[in-house]
Structure formats: structure tokens, C-alpha cells
Symmetry: C2
Subunit: 708 residues, 2 copies
């Protein structure tokens, strides 16, 4: 889906009237519910919308017993919202009709606009022009409308409206896909989740995702926002929304399609293989405290859970099950995601005397070995005393086909609420568990049908408890060093290092030599041993072709190396041999990769990885929005899987992580300050010395484009 961001210049920036209109016109209303226009009217009536309903149909005087009009203008009364599902070729006229009649919001279900090629894009532009000149806003086209349960408004032809009710609650759905909006709503409503909004935005010609996010953030009914995104109309506005949601105490969850594109787009360049568009999106989300999901239905389940369950603060998970097998499977899977497992205090164990058999007064709690057999009282006591334990931060209650399922669910929800701790209920049974699922719904508590879902909930409570958007200061524009003034395109290694040095990062001393004689002279000046590297703008990976010679100890070695490198260029058919860099031989304990990249959506990103030339294979790279402080850079390094290599692993020296973090922070400031002019820069490797010995950049690449 494509999108145009013009929303800021439009009137009616508040969507309250769209989500709670006084009057709705259904253009193309029909009595045939196999048609969009038929279902639209049917659902609007069925779900009890109390405002004025105005069917528009040139061929009928009434539809479903409601007086109909040939046009919106002919209806002769104020219309807040007109929704239309007409053939694409009739939309333009209908929009003109609405504009003339002073309609405030037009919702266009019809497809075949921008997503269907040039002709559709033109049509989309024309309707936008008409709407703009009349001050009317547009939702869609190519969307499935919206639902607003607190207003009893079903303004969508989605078949999910076949359900008997529109459950009201605190989850707002904002979805680019109409089918997924309906699906998430249907899936969630079955699980007892109530909604404050279900909005689909389709092509986002005018109203876009962030408009609904702003609405939901301000909406007192909304507590959690679950968003399905394909492409953002305004990425930086999205970051503002995320910060605003956090400040308002609301949780923002996102599923983004196109995660696998990152891999595809990464093929061309070195850094592109580390940071593609989804990488940027996910780094941005982490920076503003937004949790990402890989699955829309799972996101909704978790949203419903977060809405109703007490908040998690700290402590381990306590697993309860009527089945020893259920306990074992749950523990295995919880361990895998790294959520801490609680152990009971001795006092709690003692308090379970009379409740559980002596051999079983520990976590996981096997509710199958209650003293005196299954009883509600003992289940209640076991859950309540365990959840009160200060080591326990959350409960995971795994139901199998077992006695007292309903009672177990009721006691688990009660005990969790009393202890002020979230209890995740996983109902693994089939229809034998339906009565206990119904009990959850009665209690307004979302339960999970799979361990997969429960694990996502555990990950979510942990994420939400720790999420804190970073505060961004103003970024000062940075000037390139004079030697690079006006340089655009791929820089040489030497130029890339000049850029790094201008940010205050130590680089190897080096002299460019065009002849072997210059090279030996340069080596004498720098001091042996030295490194020789062939120079050509055409060569990305120097070590791949034998164009790097390390540890040259005397003039003869330098002379030979120069000749060898020249020969290697010729052998590999690489154009533009410009000589060699003669370079001080750097030393360090660990090879770090530092990169920055300009993302077209989110601006400068900073990348920190371990492994030098093997960084791509290891994939151990952290990404964040630039700039980052030294403190943030250090936190990024600590999230690397191979962080122990920097921290004194197995007798290695602890390395100068302070200097490494400082270099990363400075590079991030450089990238943020240069903005789009610096397309990308890699320092690889940055050698990190022992504590106090600092860092040194021994190789680098960069690409600049003309400033704007």
C-alpha cells in the first residue's frame, strides 16, 4: 500500500467525530448482504448505532425499511460520515456529492487505487483534491472502515461483524490491513477481549495510522494500542506518537510486515546487510519503548491481557499446573526465553502445609498433588500463598484436561488481582476447557490457548516494565573536515578515516604512497612494523583479494608488498589502482565493528557489532537511532552475545569499553549531525585495547552524497 502524508494541512484533525458520528450515510446501501453495501448497512443497524442512518441508493426509496436518497446532497441534512463501497469509477462523483453536501469524513472501502498502478494513483489524487478543497477528510481507499464499540458503531463490511456483539473494552486496533483488523477483532472478541476501536487505514491517502494513534492516546477508553503496519506515512511522527503514548501511560504494540525484505535489500552493500528497513524500524521502536510482535493475533491476545492483568514489576515466574507434564513443558519453554524462574521462600513453603503433599511444596506447583485430593479450597490457598511470595513476580497457570478447571481459573485470576501480580492462564485443553475459557471471559480476563501465546505475554510484561523512551536532544549540524569538502561518492579508506578522526576517534597514522619508493619512505617515517593496503574506490573488501599486507618489518618487506598488491589488483581485474596506504600497525584485544547509516525513514542509525571481518557471519550487531550517549552505547555493547569477550572472559584482559563506547557515541553524533549527506560509514575493525589503552580505527569505508 502506498501513502501520501498531507494530513497536517487538513481540517478536522480530531477523529472524535469520525469515531462517534451523529449521522452516517451509506453510499451504495443494499439489501443484499453478499455485497459490501449490503453488509455495511446491515451491520450498522444490527450493532445498534443510535445516530441517524441515511442509505444512499439511486434505485430505491428505502433500504431495510430506512428511507433512502439518490445522493447525499438529496438527503438534505448534515452528514458527519459517508461510507462508500462503489465500483472505483463511481467514487469520484460520489466524493464530489459528499463534498458538496458538507460531509466531514468520507470512508472509501473500494480498492483499485494507488495499489493498482498509475491510473489508480491518478484517481486517488483527484479524489483527494476534491476532498481538500471542501475541507473533508478521507479514510481509505482500499480499507475496511472502522468500528467503535463504545459508540456501538460498526462502520465496516468485515464479516467479523456477524458476531452477536461488539465487545467494549480498552484495546484499540489500528491496522493498515482491513482483513487483519477484522481477524484480530474476531479472534480477540472470542477470547473475551473488549475493544475501544478497530480502524483500518488502507492506502492512507489522507487519514493515516498516526492520526488514529493520536486519537487512541487521547481516548479515555483506550489502555493498550495494537497496531498492524505495512508502511508508515510519517515515520518521525510515529516516534512522537510512541513517546506520547508512553507519557500517557498507554502501551503501544506493533506488528510490522516486511521483516524479510530487510534481508533482500541488504544484498548490495556491506552495511546494508546489517541494517535494512526493518532493522531501522525495530531499532527505532526499541528507542521509543514500542514492543514488536511477529504475529497480529498474538499481539491482540497480549494486548487484551495487558489491559486487564495487574502490571508486572519484578520477580520470577511461578508455574502452576494440574499436570506434572504441563509444569515441565512450561518450565522448559520459559527458560528458553530467559524469563527468571521463581523459587519459593521457606516461609511460603511452610504456609503450604495442609495444602500440598510435603514432597511437592515447591515450584513448579503441581496442583495434582493437593492434600486430600482435588479441592477448590486447597487450589485457592496454594495459588494465593504462592503469589504472595516476594520472589514471585508473575504466575503462569497451565490448564490441562483436569478436574476443577473453572474453579482453578477463577481462583487464579482472583489470587493474581489480590497480589497485584499478573497471572498468565494457558488453557491447553480442547473443548474440555471451554467452560473454563468462558469463566475467563466472564471475568474479563484474556486467557491463552497456546504456550506460544503465553511466552509472548511473559516477554511483553517484562518489556513493558522496562520500556523507557530515550530522550532526544537537539542534534547540532556537523561540518565535514575541510579535506573532504565537496567530496561525494564512495570515500577511500583514508578519507573515511579522516571523517572518523574529525569526530575525535583515533585512527592509524598513515601516508598514501603512489610508488614503492614512497611507500618505503613513508614506512621509515611511521616506524616499523607497518601495514600496506591497496587503494582503489572500486574495491570494497580489500582483504578478499590479497590487497592487505600486515606486519611488514623492514623496507625490503614493504617494497615486496607494494609489488604484490599491484599484482593482485591486476590479477583480479580491479580498476583504479591508486597506490597504497602505509599505515601504523594497530594493536588491540578485540575487534569491534562500528557503523552508521542514514535510513530514509528514521535518519541516522548507529551499529555496534563484534567480530571485525566476521561480523556478518556472527550477526552480533546492535542498532539504535543516532545519536546515542556513551552510556547508551555501553548498554548496546552489553546486549551483544559476545560481550563477555570484552569483559574479561576466560582470563582475557578486560578491554577499554569506555573508550569503545565513547567512539561509538562520537560516530553516532557525527552521523546524526551530517544527516543524509553521510549515507553510511563503517569502522571495521576498531581495535579495542586493554583497559586504559584506548581504541584505534584501522580500517574504514564511507559513502557521502551531496548535501541538501
Amino acid at each position: 500500500m502506498t501513502s501520501v502524508d498531507m494530513s497536517r494541512s487538513m481540517p478536522d484533525s480530531d477523529l472524535a467525530r469520525l469515531c462517534a458520528p451523529r449521522s452516517v450515510a451509506v453510499v451504495g446501501a443494499s439489501e443484499d448482504d453478499r455485497k459490501f453495501g449490503g453488509r455495511l448497512l446491515k451491520y450498522l443497524v444490527k450493532h445498534g448505532f443510535s445516530g441517524d442512518i441515511v442509505p444512499i441508493n439511486p434505485k430505491a426509496t428505502g433500504v431495510l425499511g430506512i428511507p433512502a436518497y439518490p445522493s447525499v446532497a438529496a438527503a438534505g441534512r448534515p452528514i458527519d460520515v459517508a461510507i462508500m463501497a462503489l465500483p472505483a469509477e463511481h467514487i469520484e462523483a460520489s466524493i464530489a456529492d459528499c463534498a458538496a453536501a458538507g460531509v466531514r469524513f468520507a470512508v472509501i472501502i473500494t480498492a483499485s487505487f494507488a495499489e493498482a498502478g498509475v491510473e489508480g494513483l491518478e484517481r486517488q489524487r483527484r479524489i483527494l483534491d476534491i476532498a481538500r478543497s471542501a475541507g473533508m477528510r478521507i479514510l481509505g481507499p482500499n480499507c475496511l472502515g472502522l468500528m467503535s464499540p463504545h459508540a456501538r458503531l460498526a462502520l465496516t463490511p468485515s464479516l467479523s461483524m456477524e458476531r452477536p456483539d461488539l465487545p467494549r473494552g480498552g484495546v484499540a486496533l489500528v491496522s493498515q490491513s482491513g482483513a487483519l483488523m477484522g481477524t484480530m477483532f474476531d479472534y480477540g472478541a472470542d477470547r473475551g477481549i473488549g475493544f475501544s476501536l478497530g480502524a483500518s487505514v488502507g492506502n492512507q491517502v489522507d487519514i493515516e495510522i498516526c492520526d488514529f494513534l493520536d486519537f487512541a492516546i487521547d481516548d479515555p477508553n483506550t489502555r493498550v494500542i495494537a497496531t498492524y503496519v505495512e508502511g508508515l506515512a510519517n515515520p518521525l511522527r510515529f516516534l512522537d506518537c510512541a513517546r506520547r503514548a508512553h507519557a500517557a501511560g498507554k502501551v503501544l504494540l506493533v506488528t510490522k510486515a516486511g521483516r524479510s525484505e530487510a534481508g533482500v535489500a541488504a544484498a548490495r552493500s556491506h552495511t546494508a546487510s546489517l541494517a535494512g528497513s526493518y532493522t531501522a524500524f525495530s531499532a527505532a521502536c526499541r528507542s521509543v519503548g514500542v514492543m514488536l510482535f511477529d504475529d497480529p493475533n498474538s499481539m491482540v491476545e497480549v494486548a487484551g491481557f495487558l489491559c486487564e492483568a495487574p502490571s508486572y514489576r519484578e520477580g520470577g515466574a511461578a508455574v502452576f499446573s494440574g499436570s506434572g507434564g504441563g509444569c515441565a513443558v512450561a518450565l522448559d519453554r520459559i527458560s528458553e526465553i530467559g524469563f527468571p524462574i521463581a523459587e519459593l521462600s521457606e516461609a511460603t513453603k511452610a504456609s503450604l502445609d495442609g495444602v500440598l503433599q510435603e514432597s511437592h511444596r515447591h515450584l513448579p506447583l503441581d496442583l495434582g498433588v493437593l492434600q486430600g485430593g482435588w479441592s477448590r479450597a486447597n487450589i485457592a490457598a496454594a495459588l494465593e500463598r504462592t503469589l504472595r511470595d516476594p520472589h514471585v513476580g508473575a504466575g503462569v497457570c497451565v490448564l490441562t484436561t483436569q478436574p476443577l478447571m473453572v474453579e482453578t481459573v477463577e481462583e487464579a485470576v482472583k489470587a493474581g488481582r489480590e497480589a497485584g501480580k499478573p497471572v498468565i492462564i494457558v488453557n491447553l485443553a480442547g473443548s474440555a476447557g471451554d467452560a473454563s475459557r468462558a469463566a475467563c471471559r466472564r471475568l474479563g480476563y484474556a486467557c491463552f490457548d497456546t504456550m506460544d501465546g503465553a511466552l509472548r505475554a511473559l516477554a511483553a510484561i517484562s518489556f513493558v516494565s522496562g520500556a523507557k523512551p530515550s530522550v532526544r536532544g537537539t542534534v547540532e549540524p556537523t561540518a565535514v573536515p575541510p579535506a573532504l569538502d565537496g567530496r561525494i561518492g564512495r570515500l577511500t579508506e583514508h578519507e573515511a578515516k579522516l571523517l572518523a578522526a574529525s569526530a575525535g576517534i583515533r585512527v592509524t597514522r598513515e601516508i598514501v604512497a603512489v610508488t614503492a619508493a614512497q611507500a618505503t619512505a613513508a614506512a621509515e617515517e611511521i616506524g616499523f612494523p607497518v601495514v600496506l593496503k591497496g587503494v582503489s574506490k572500486a574495491l570494497v573488501h580489500k582483504s578478499d583479494v590479497g590487497a592487505v599486507k600486515l606486519n611488514l618489518k623492514d623496507a625490503a618487506a614493504v617494497d615486496r608488498a607494494f609489488a604484490d598488491i599491484a599484482q593482485a589488483f591486476s590479477t583480479h581485474g580491479i580498476a583504479g589502482f591508486e597506490g597504497c596506504i602505509v599505515q601504523e600497525m594497530g594493536h588491540g584485544e578485540v575487534e569491534l565493528f562500528l557503523g552508521a547509516k542514514h535510513d530514509p525513514e528514521f535518519g541516522a542509525l548507529i551499529l555496534i557489532g563484534i567480530g571485525g571481518t566476521t561480523v556478518e557471519l556472527l550477526g552480533d550487531v546492535q542498532v539504535a537511532l543516532a545519536p546515542v550517549s556513551e552510556h547508551e552505547a555501553l548498554a548496546m555493547m552489553k546486549r551483544m552475545k559476545l560481550w563477555p569477550l570484552m569483559d574479561g572472559f576466560r582470563g582475557r584482559p578486560a578491554v577499554d569499553v569506555t573508550a569503545a563506547a565513547r567512539a561509538a557515541s562520537r560516530l553516532s553524533e557525527l552521523a546524526a549531525g551530517l544527516g543524509p549527506r553521510l549515507q553510511e560509514i563503517d569502522i571495521n575493525p576498531l581495535l579495542v585495547g586493554a583497559r586504559g589503552a584506548g581504541v584505534i580505527a584501522v580500517d574504514g569505508r564511507a559513502t557521502m552524497v551531496a548535501g541538501t
Copy 2:
């Protein structure tokens, strides 16, 4: 749960009579279905068991209208199976009653046996003795019995029997946990899956998992076996079962509890952190073509699917959805697991003229853009023509809330069966999808409610199509080299390398020196540069304490290094300084880790990893049952994430992988040949030189125990 393997010495090794008995006695039969004995009788009657039902209850002359007897003996007729749910203290007498009456199988539901401490273990032994002497077999105790749908036999108090029917089909469930057996059955039956068996084995005092596996492998009704394992009574018999299942064309799936124990048990020793019990189990399963799951319900879903869907052979996945969002989410997730994504041939695209809008005749197939709108005929044509494409190996049909859901499901199943290709149906809708779920059930086709489940199915069809149990030859016992005769305990590095050398692996030339003078003399003999390493049995990680000095270029350096190492031992308080090994300086391009370990269940394992001393951090280790051939060792190396480092990555030399594979194979033969005497051996690093340059072991550790 604990277990004793005595089954081989018992009569009635065939469980056919247990699974299809002519007569069943219910000991403790009751009319109160809150009691185990009440539910047992109720379910037996309810599900239509046609054999003789004999309630045993000393206080009643009839239960549920069926004549009852005070004891099995008093019933005065042959009883194939007696099932009992009595207080633990009454079991022994009841078993004696059954034994005296010539009962062939006793099923004990009652718990509080071996799992509840010493007293229970004693009780368990006594009942086994009684049964043995009478030639009676025991299932349980601490189990939930079994169900045998083709015999209409519900021999279990599981509440899953509340469902109206026992769906018959080709999935055999064999579960150590009774609650999970009932849960998997209930969950699967709801999804249209039919079963040939549901067996729970509990404490496995006599009949164990492998008895049921053998039964299911020979059972003509069974096509797929889904097994939940906590502990195997006889691991090697399990491997035989797996090979037999594969030969019989049946698929064996396993979920094993205790996966996270591997991490816990790993704390003590170096190699233990790489290979624990679950690691061994999973290596063994891979070797015999068994697919592992992390979740019992997911395993059952996939089992049902494999039972009914055509087999996958080759080709990519074709995604269909009525929602563009559904397509996008599915593609992202399929890409993540590495299943190939299909592209349509030009001929197939052309064949979609008239079916799909021109802009959308490609994969993923958006069924929302059919030409002329939603129609069954176009859906049928789109699915059928796409699945016929030779590039397409499997279909993934993602249903959202959309029109024609039932029709889409019916056409997808039909098209898949006609093309002979598996089609995975994922129904993301809530109750709006119930009619289409029912359609799947009518067609005897398992559908998935989550993308998580669908992904496991894709992984499974790929695994099953490639699974081929390795053939094990006879392992020749190996003698230790004479120098190590009688050596037990932790070997020195030098001794460990003697052992490696005895298997034909090249090790560094080295001389043990007790004094600095001996060290310099040894260095002169070996030739400079040399390496010095401090020797002590108390020291595991030499490099951690500065006890390794590399690249010593002359006698003075050796002399100084010797003193430094002696000092380091003293500084770190390490006992038993025995001098230094003076060692040839090895060279290579890549550091490999080779290990072998004796697993108490599965015998010798071979481990191959990359990263030398960082192998633990990288976790890039492959494990297999030893011995492995050179070919198998090479295949293991190619599965390593960092394999490209050995294969000419970024201009590095391609290394001598043949020599590395040969060394791994030889080490695996050594370990298999020495059996439990060699507890573990690590060669770390094994330096692998450029192609043709061979390998050299530069460090090693090993632990031997007394031979048996």
C-alpha cells in the same frame, strides 16, 4: 518419574490384547463420576466398548446397572484387563487378587509410588514381584490408562472422555504424562484429528514407552506416532524403535521434557556446558530421523496433518490468502524458518488470466483480487493452477475473516490432494472461521489456528522428507595407548594428546620440562618458536591464569616464560605445578573444537564446533552419536553457522576440511571404541590449515574412568 526396564523378561510382549481386550474389570467401580472409579466405568460404557465389562466393588451388587463382584476372583471368568483406581494402600491386595484370577494386564491409575519417595518405591517393587510371578503385565502406576478408538475402548478416567466420541484415525499418542495424553487427545479431536491409540505409561514399572511404540509401529491403523517423553526406560531400545518406525514408513514425533536441565547440569565442566542430556537426546533423534517438538499440542496438530496431507517432496511454499496482510505476515514468518518460497513459472502466470487481476498473477497469491470479485470457481482455478506449478512444493492457505471461507478450505484441500502436494491451512479468524474449521473436520484434514502451528508443520514436512536414519556398524573396542594403561581421572594435556594421537590425529611435538633448564633444552630440540604451558591436573583453563606463553623465539624468552608461569601458579594459588610442556608452535587458519563425551543414556557423542576458546560463547556446536564417518563429520561442519569461515569466506583460504572431518571421525571412533572408560575428551583448538596442510591439535583435555 522413575522407571525400571524389565519388560523384555515378561510375558505378553504384544500389547494387542491390552488395546483390544475381550473383557475389562474396573476395580473400584462407582456411580460417582467425581471419583476415578466412577469416571472409568462411565466412560467405558459411554464410548461403546463391546466386550465384557465387570465392575468390582465389595459394597455393591451392581454399578450403573451392571452386575458387580467383590473381587476379580469372585467374578469367576477370564479377565484380559483389570484397571484400578484405589487408595495406594489397597493396590497390593488388588494386584494379588488379579494375579490369582489370571488377569493378563493390570492398569494402575493410583499415584504415590516411586515418584513419592522410598516407601512408594518399595510398594512399587512389591506389586511388580506379584505380577511377575503370575505372568501378569502392569501399566502404570501413576498413569491415566489408555484409549483405543478403533476398539471403542475408553480405559481412562481422563476428563477428555467427556467428549461425545472417540475419533478414529491414524495418530497414536504415547505419553508419559496422563494429563498431557488427555489434553493432546482433546485438543486434537477438536481439530478433526483421529486417533489409533492414546496410551499413558506413568511410572513405567513394567510396560514402557517403547512397548507402545513397538505396538504402534506394527499396528495397521497407525500412520504417525506422537510421543511425550520425560525419561526413557531404555534409550537404546528407543533408537531401535525409531529405526523400525522409519523402515515401516511411519513418522515418529517426540516432545521431551527437561530440555532446560541441560543448561543446569552443564555448570560443572567445560564440555558439559556443550552436551547435556537433552543435547544427547536431540543428537540421537537426529541420527535416527525422529523430529523433536517443544510443545505437545503443536506435535499433535502436526501429527494429524502429516496423517492426512499428501507427502512433501521438494519445491517452495506458495502462500495464498484473501488478505494482502495475511500474505505479508505469512511470508515474513516462512522466510524466518528458511523454508524456500516458490515463484510461479510464466506458464502458470499465463494460466491465471481470467482468474486474477493482471497485476496480481504472482506469489503470494492474493485471493482478494480475483477477476470479477469473489467466486468459488476462480478460487478453485487459482489454487489448482498454482499448486500444479512444478516450482511449488507445498501450499500455505491463510484464512482471515473473509467471504467464501468454507469454499476456500474445500477447494484448497481438493487442489492439494489432486496435485499430490501438502497444503497447510491456517485459520486466523475467530468464530467467524468456525464453519470453515468444521469443513476441515468433515474432510478429515487438520487445520491450524496459528501461524506458529503452520510453521511447525512446514518444518515437519521438510524434516520428514529428508529424514534418513544413519546406519550404525559394529563398534570395535579400542585399547588405550600403553603409556596411559591404567590411567584414570583427569589427564594432563600431554596425556590427552597421546590419546588423540593414538587415534591418528596429528598433535604438536612436545616435551615435558620440570625445570627452566630442561625447558630451554627442549625448545632447542623442537626448534624455535615454541609455546610453553604450565602443567597441573588442578588447572582446567590454562589461558585464564597466564599459564600459556606463545611464540617464544629464543632460549632467554623460554627461560623467562618458565619463571612467569611458575609465578602465575603461585599467585593464583593453584596446587600441583608439575613444570611446563614445551611445544611446537602450531599454525592454522581456523580454530576448531573437537570433543567427545560419554552420555550415560546414548553412549559416545561427538561434538564439532568452531571458535576455539570462544566456542562456549558462540554456541556453534554440532553433536551426533559416535561414531560418525568422515562424510557425516563434514555434513556436521557444514551445519555450523560459521562454516563459511572454513569455506573461503571473504578471501580467506579454503581450509583443509577433509583433514578436519577425518580427525573428527577418528575421534568419534576412539570414543565409541573406548565406551564409558572415556568420559570426555576435548581437542581445543584443533588448528585447521589451508587446503592440503592438514590439522594439528594444539591443546587437549580428557577424563578417563576405570574400565568395566
